[in-house]
Amino acid sequence: MTTLLSLPPWFPLHFVPASNLVGILPVLIVGGGSVLVLLADLAVPRRGNLVLPVISGVVVLGALGTAVGQWILNATNPVVFNGAFADDRFALFADFVVLLTALAVICLSPGYLRRRGMEEGEYYILLLASLTGMLVLSGATNLIVIFLGVELLSIPLYVLAGFARDEPLSQEAAMKYLLLGGFASGFLLYGMALIYGETGHTGLAAIHQQLLQGALSHSFDPMLLAGIALLSVGLLFKVSAAPFQWWTPDVYQGSPAIVTTFMSVATKVAAFAVFLRLFSATLAPYRSEWEVPIAVVAIISMVFGNLVAVAQTSVKRVLAYSGIAQAGYILIGVAVGSPDGTQAALYYLAAYAFMNTGAFAVLTILSQRGEDCDRYSQLAGLWRRQPLLAGLMALFMLSLAGFPMTVGFFGKFFLFSAAIHDGQLPLAIWGILTSAVSLFYYLRVILVMFTAVPDADSDTAPTLAGLSLEGTAVASSTAASVGIPAGVVVVLAGVGTVVLGIFPALIYTLLQGITVVHG
């Protein structure tokens, strides 16, 4: 037991090694922040002030700072709570991505909620609660903790999906997400139960040892494989990989755009973190069993997501299907299973956070009262109205399509290179074929923004305050200002997309020293 401080005997820390609490400090900060925001919401009942977003932002910044500190200190034994949780660099990297996304979402929120008339304090409470679940998930090294993280992540999101209370689509989204999410949790739990039943452990390290022995004796174990399969189904649901993606388009379309932003990026990153930890470390001895199914899921996701996205008329649905396809690309890294596959998947997750947050942030900014920016016609002629916003959206589309000069290119480059090196050429070939297909819908967004003539009614969309390419912010009388934080977020996402697209080493070197432990 580490005694860093001399504590009075009644202090709870005395009974829990301090290193444990230090290990989960980001989780504690965000979880505590959630309660703090709840109390603050009671203290400041007046709507529309910035107290809650500021507190939330400070909390997330604090957690981010703590995570950076942990990264720098780089604990030699990052496993805490008797192997139930790890604050290794793998988890910390996922934490960075998730926390940065959350910070971006919090900056975008006040303006969006005001325009949509949804300024409720619960929004920030639920956001932080869900974020807590994501942080738990990224470091979970025990099946129970994984389940805890998944539920903590999901339940607030069910509520957030229905946050636009007077819109039927939003209600439908929340109901669908709740029902199907509960179903997926059932799969997850059943899989865990089977794995526990077969190995007698819930800790990933102990399970790994059992698997090693099983793999060495080459015995076929149907119960364990069924457990792994069901566990995978539960997690594949969360990352919205086909054929477990049926909820994604409806939920992404129906949820308020700001919730979709958070859901599409942060959930995917957290769920992929635990997915990678499970498959690249714990289940590695059974690689020959899961390699092909995961590869098949990856291919189905890429093909289905990209093909169906072409036929969509709603921008949010296009991005939802694009998200399914992107999950397929990241699954290449999982299916490859080798360390460079894991590295490539992590790189792609970081890239995805930049470009997808940026794309959804633009939709968020363009959303007006009573309706999210969702139809192509609402984007029509955006270039004439708001050149900078249109340019940034085009940049995010090009990045999602994988063009060089954007971060998406190196994401795909590393994934394909890992696949080819590992001899999984079919994955890489499917990847490029579907990438070519994806151009149809990504470029259509650009085409609409740059050539089509705007609707008469869409001229009232808010402008990006003071940030117009022509130097003159075209502020029509009805246009509400977006606010500086939202503008900064979109611009920073754009800058990040380009800078990381030109200097991939900025992230790649971070990934060099990464370790994945499982207790």
Binding site: P9, W10, F11, P12, H14, F15, V35, L38, L39, D41, L42, P45, S219, D221, P222, M223
Partner: protein
């Protein structure tokens, strides 16, 4: 090794057989004498006063849910009360205080948000 699971298989087959048998067997074998009284919803033998498809105020559900939440958490106090003097001592007291404080925050929240107001 698969052989170890044979009892489980037998059990599953029996369960399925029983379910299917009861579902289809009873209508086939049993006599049927339908009457108005038999068609009514069963409510402890008392004749229903009015239709059950009435709308209740949403406040009922809210109060019921809040009750269940706090009720379940209060149950946690019983095992704690048994052990607090013998094993948990002051640590247990501090932990439970934190727990109750969190519950109090929740109650405060519910109160201030007006969930306890009937109208």
């Amino acid at each position: 090794m698969l052989f170890d699971y044979l009892p489980l298989l037998v059990f599953l087959v029996m369960v399925a057989a029983l379910g299917v048998g009861l579902t289809f067997g009873i209508p086939l074998l049993g006599p049927r004498h339908p009457s108005t009284a038999k068609g009514l919803p069963y409510e402890c033998g008392i004749v229903p006063a009015e239709t059950a498809r009435r709308r209740f105020s949403v406040t009922f559900y809210l109060t019921a849910m809040l009750f269940i939440v706090f009720d379940v958490e209060a149950i946690f106090l019983y095992p704690w009360a048994v052990l607090v003097r013998s094993t948990l001592h002051i640590f247990g007291l501090v932990e439970m205080t934190i727990f109750i404080a969190l519950l109090a925050v929740a109650l405060l929240y519910v109160w201030r948000k007006g969930a306890l107001e009937w109208d």
